[in-house]
């Protein structure tokens, strides 16, 4: 080793040595460097996730613009009450996760475990509601593929009171484009649900580790970084909900 370019440890790094946590990895000079690197890495990962979902959002906006009547008619098939309930459920799961991060920071093991479990429960409720929404699409033959059925868009059911169709009927070629809407609906909500499932699996693992007391002595990076991921998944839904369910609907016509 040549000694002109190497100097001894600066005293700053030495100070950190005697307070080091068992989770401190040797290739980081300080624990703070390790924590910053972890958080930075997580933000970069979320950036890749934005690009991942970005492709889907781009496709949605393009086709929505091209086939607007079909997209409006098809989005009327989605249930606003269920979507709203799910939004509320997901926001509260985000809230529990934030409380979990706080509990880890103030080193309250019991509270941390409780908040993580509450996060898991609300995540599962969200997926449960999603299951019933998907099931309804299945029954109505609105799953893209060979059995996709456009009759409801060509001949909308009549309103029993007025005797008029509850929606503007679409020409068959435009009605066919509702399949593009449902393709994207399933691709987008499916990718979102997949992220939730991965998140819930990770949450079980984190809960088990929290239960063993791994995050109760000042080492909170995994909880903090998972929190970032979970909030990101929430935010994706915050964009999906208005785009798929809300914009440009004509209720009650």
């Amino acid at each position: 080793m040549d000694n002109t370019i190497v100097a001894t440890h600066d005293t700053h790094a030495e100070e950190h040595h005697h307070v080091s946590l068992p989770q401190h990895r040797h290739h980081f000079e300080t624990e703070q460097q390790q924590r910053e690197a972890g958080t930075f890495g997580m933000w970069l990962f979320l950036l890749t996730e934005i690009m991942f979902f970005g492709g889907l959002f781009f496709a949605y906006l393009l086709y929505r613009n091209w086939y607007n009547p079909a997209f409006v008619a098809a989005s009327n098939q989605l249930s606003i009450p269920l979507g709203t309930v799910n939004t509320a459920v997901l926001i509260s799961s985000g809230f529990f996760m934030a409380l979990g991060v706080w509990a880890a920071e103030v080193r309250k093991k019991g509270l941390l475990v409780i908040f993580l479990i509450l996060t898991i429960i609300s995540g599962c409720v969200f997926l449960g509601v999603k299951y019933f929404e998907y099931k309804e699409k299945w029954e109505k033959h609105h799953i893209p593929g060979a059995s996709f059925d456009i009759s409801e868009f060509v001949n909308p059911p009549l309103n029993p009171k007025t005797g008029k169709p509850i929606e503007e009927p679409l020409a068959p070629d435009m009605a066919q484009k509702t399949q593009v809407f449902f393709s994207l609906y399933f691709a987008m909500t499916g990718m979102h649900a997949l992220h939730m499932i991965i998140g819930i699996v990770l949450l079980f693992w984190l809960t088990w580790r929290a239960h063993r007391g791994e995050f109760s002595s000042g080492y909170v990076a995994p909880i903090e970084n998972f929190g970032l991921y979970w909030h990101f998944v929430d935010i994706v839904w915050i964009f999906l909900f208005p785009l798929l369910y809300l914009i440009n609907r004509h209720p009650g016509t």
Partner: protein, 557 residues
Amino acid sequence: MSTTSTTIVNLPDQRTATIPKKNYITAEDGLLSWLLTGDHKRIAMLYLVSITFFFFIGGAFAGLIRLELLTPQPDLVASDTYNKLFSMHGIVMVFLFLVPSVPATLGNFLIPIMIGAKDLAFPKINLLSWYLYMAGGLFTLAALVLGGVDTGWTFTTPLSTHYLNTHVVTAGLGVFIIGFSSIFTGLNFIVTIHRMRAPGMTWFRMPLFVWSNYAASILMVLGTPVLAITLVLVVLERTIHIGVFDPTLGGDPLLFQHLFWFYSHPAVYIMILPGMGVISEVISTFSRKRVFGYTAVAFSSVAIAVFGFFVWEHHMFIMGVSNYSALVFSLLTMLVAVPSAIKVFNWAFTLQKGSITFETPMLYAFAFIGLFTIGGLTGVFLGSLGMDIHLTETYFIVAHFHYVMVGGMLMAFMSGVHFWWPKMVGRMYPESLSKLSAVTSFIGFNLTFMPQFILGYLGMPRRYHSYPAEYQVLNVLSTAGATVLGIGFLLPLIYLAWSLKYGAIAGNNPWQATGLEWQIQSPPLTENFIETPIVDYEAYDYEWLAHKTEQEVTTVG
């Protein structure tokens, strides 16, 4: 030019020199210690072995393609087999060799050392990225063994989703998985370069190799996810028949092209930027001068990364995109030539009045500069709208991107492997044999691809296994060249393996180079540095090095 010395190689006395007993290779024994390692240097070696394996698989396909094209008649393989050959050649070479080539091997090995860190920020994610690479590689091999895939490496819809009965899903999933390996490598590099630099290692003291890998990492992190979602949609369209790209359902195949090239054009810069970093290091070392215009070269890497995201539509000029957007993208394509030219000019000025010596890495670097310039300039031809319509989908474009990818990237990779080989294994490669292989591959390369420029200009379309008889002479030349090129790439495999045992002991700094990696033992210790270095000199400061060596002599003496 130097008149006093013909070499800068400075090896220790071979009678007394030994490889340091304690180093990253001897640190632990057994296969498991490699398969479960967190050491960036060991992971780099794992990558080096794996990408070499896939390189020769991809090369075998290329050999079969050239063999078929020896005669105008389709006599070696049937047309659908030929389609599979060039598809598998493209998929293996692009995703399994070129994208990870320099970053995952040399970058993995060197970036932490060059910035004075003990490892990459996330060693486990680094190992995971190698496993993902291998898993993706296995999927691709499975697609190959089960009967191949014949979409071309571009997975063009609706061909890939509706009209082919080959293993598109398997190959697509393979590429999807390899994509994550690339994302994790890029993410690891960015975090490491931001957060792990040694004291005194400011951004503008970093070697240019680190800058160019940083720029490539930005592209990996931002581009690859778009490819991932595109492939997911292709697979969904093929398996459960959703209608995003299928025109019969209202989808738009052009959307696929936009999404695919949004990744795959920047991917070209993922492949070439790390190679440019290698060239900066090699040119500086073998002309004993600081890289001319260091800051310009550093920023031109970032500029290539940024511009690289806004040129993708030039792959689609003949696909019915709007004339106005074609105009804009043509202009932007011309713009990306500017930072590339900045690099070439700065390398040329670095050579000017330098003490140039001609060791193997330098020969490969010269090959790079010449061939990359030809590849880049023909890219400008293709970026201009009128020329593109004439030349696209012909052998001209095949020759163009092989000049950039093989003539550029592969030469840079070979240059880098030779340059850092003594650091990686502690022994020198045989100099005269390697010079021979550098010259052989340069000649073989030009013989292979120069005729293809002419063939393409004359109108020979790509992706066909038969052609009119008047093209045969040029095709025979090209196939002959491919044979020479093949020898040029097989030779290093043999002598580098030989040198592992019999090469001369290299010592710490055989090239008398200035980078931090040359100031530590070869092969390095697992933790790279015994003590964290403090950097108080600029990159490529040969006076600092001379001063340091002088001091050592006085101390020892």
